[in-house]
């Protein structure tokens, strides 16, 4: 049987880990995608809509 404080700290601990995991995923995913875009553009591939402000698809 755990003490009440142990349940509280386990809850906050798991919450912290989950939230930090989400933040790390969002940051690392964004960095990896930006790197890929830079590499593609460096190899001469350009978006057709580059230079236009409208009329593009995601």
């Amino acid at each position: 049987m755990m003490s009440h404080a142990a349940y509280v700290f386990t809850s906050y601990g798991i919450a912290t880990l989950t939230v930090l995991g989400l933040i790390a995923w969002v940051i690392l995913d964004g960095r990896a995608r930006r790197r890929e875009l830079v590499e593609l553009e460096a190899s001469g591939v350009r978006r057709r809509s580059a230079g236009q402000a409208s009329g593009e698809t995601p």
Binding site: H4, S11, A15, I23, V26, I27, G30, L40
Partner: protein, 256 residues
């Protein structure tokens, strides 16, 4: 591309992914700062306030459990709105929004389930019961996982967006079931004590940390969601560029 052309003047301007990226870059630092600040205040209040006369220290689990549970439902509602955007208005960012929200919603639902379990053990004497509230939230968790699997299974967003939007809307029936499960059925889980027509029945000592933590979690959700949407737009650009490069390489090979 002039700065002027990227200005967002009306809601429909958000449909342009380039404008959205510019807006996200401007908003994210502020949102992250506000989120961090609310968490500092919220966590301080969570541990500075007194424990409950019956529940003792375990009442502090509520400050994580309740916001996570609210967010798990709000995230699904955001996805349902996005699904409408995909099916009715064919908004180009709607599918991006729904897809980016699913993993975040899954994490909040997971947190609601785990912290609920950790609260249930000392207070109810059990980690889990198959009552209506717990079961319907577990179903919500499975739906998030199913939607994530579906989005990954179909590579082309143009094809997957419709299917997943329909699934999201069908699954939305679960949200009122979760909300009212504690009134419609006899559950071990207590009925609502904050979001009630006759006002909150919870003591202000616990209400304040709860409200601040709920604001912090909501800000966290929007920060993560906007950042994940930005990532999803970038991912689609990478895919489109790779396809373009492959086509160009094919043309060159034929020309030789």
């Amino acid at each position: 591309m002039s700065e002027n052309s990227l200005a967002i003047r009306k809601f429909s301007d958000l449909a342009n992914p380039t404008r959205f990226l510019a807006l996200a870059d401007r908003l994210l630092p502020w949102l992250s700062g506000l989120t961090a600040l609310s968490f500092v205040v919220g966590l301080w209040l969570s541990f500075a306030t007194e424990g409950d006369y019956q529940q003792g220290e375990t009442v502090r689990i509520m400050y994580v459990h309740v916001p996570a549970a609210w967010l798990s439902m709000m995230c699904y509602s955001v996805m349902a709105l996005a699904a409408l955007g995909t099916l009715v208005w064919r908004h180009p960012l709607a599918d991006v929004s729904a897809r980016a929200a699913a993993p975040i919603g899954a994490c909040f639902t997971f947190l609601a389930l785990v912290t609920g379990s950790l609260w249930g053990k000392p207070m109810w004497g059990t980690w889990w019961v198959w009552d209506a509230r717990l079961t319907s939230v577990f179903v919500l968790f499975l739906m998030y996982l199913g939607l994530m699997a579906l989005n990954r299974a179909i590579d082309d967003p143009a094809r997957s967006s419709k299917v997943s939007a329909i699934l999201v809307l069908v699954g939305f029936v679960n949200i009122p079931i979760i909300k009212f499960s504690v009134e419609w059925w006899n559950t071990l889980h207590q009925p609502a004590s904050v979001m009630r027509l006759d006002g909150p029945t919870i003591d202000p000592e616990f209400l304040w940390p709860l409200i601040v933590m709920a604001i912090a979690f909501t800000l966290l959700f929007f920060t993560l969601h906007i950042a994940a949407m930005r990532n999803e737009i970038l991912r689609r650009r990478v895919t489109a560029l790779r396809r373009l490069a492959a086509r160009a390489a094919g043309r060159e090979a034929r020309a030789q």
